[in-house]
Amino acid sequence: MKYALLVQGAPYSQQASHSALRFASALIARGHTLGTVFFYHDGVYNASRLATPPQDEPNLVEAWRRLHQEQGTSLLVCIAAALRRGIIDEREARRHGKEGHAVESPFELTGLGQLIDVHTTHDRLVTFSP
């Protein structure tokens, strides 16, 4: 089956990201596909390339990136939730006259419509929240 995950917890504050990453590995191990991870609410903080966790703790941003590389999983970040939280990419930075950016490929800023569409293109959506 083709899965999508909705992640809504900040990465170093709540367990939601950890649970979602473990669930991702397990579903792949069972032969399913992980098509999309959609980040909403404080989940958008998972996309920050500026996150600098201690060396002896899991690097969650890196773990998401690896999912994309190895499985082709789309990493979609709700743009409305992200902008107010300072999770902006180069294009939004330019548009709002900010120097620097927090999001880069393979994370993509996108609209909520993509979350709605998940149900037509995936078999299961599982939500991980704080």
Partner: protein
């Protein structure tokens, strides 16, 4: 689709972000029903205002639901009762869901979003 709203207004952004999912779903042509449950029933209390710093609140968005053809607003009766509320306290006409019907509401909808 069913959007379950379980958080109160002003205290966090859960309610606003859940309502945004309902609106976008409707804008994309989905048939959207909304279920208010737990603290979410407090979203419907009449007479809410914007926050003291100008935070918009969610009550104006509730008034917009009908424009988006979201006219099935379901409210868990027990959640209301626990909080001393009746449908007369609410800003919009709603359909009460009793204890026996609540599981059926969930069973009859797909997909379900929970905020």
């Amino acid at each position: 689709m069913l959007v379950m709203l379980r958080h109160s207004p002003h205290g966090s952004s859960w309610l606003r972000e859940g309502l945004d999912v309902a609106l976008v779903g409707a804008a994309l042509g989905r048939k959207v029903h909304v279920l208010f449950l737990g603290d979410g029933v407090q979203a419907l209390i009449a007479g809410q205002t914007s926050g003291p710093l100008g935070q918009k609140g969610t009550h104006p968005t509730l008034d917009m639901l009908e424009m988006y053809d979201i006219d099935t607003l379901l409210v868990d009766g027990e959640s209301l009762a626990q909080r001393g509320l009746t449908i007369d306290d609410l800003q919009l006409p709603v359909s009460l869901v009793d204890a026996a019907s609540l599981p059926r509401v969930l069973a009859e909808h797909s997909p379900i979003y929970s905020f």
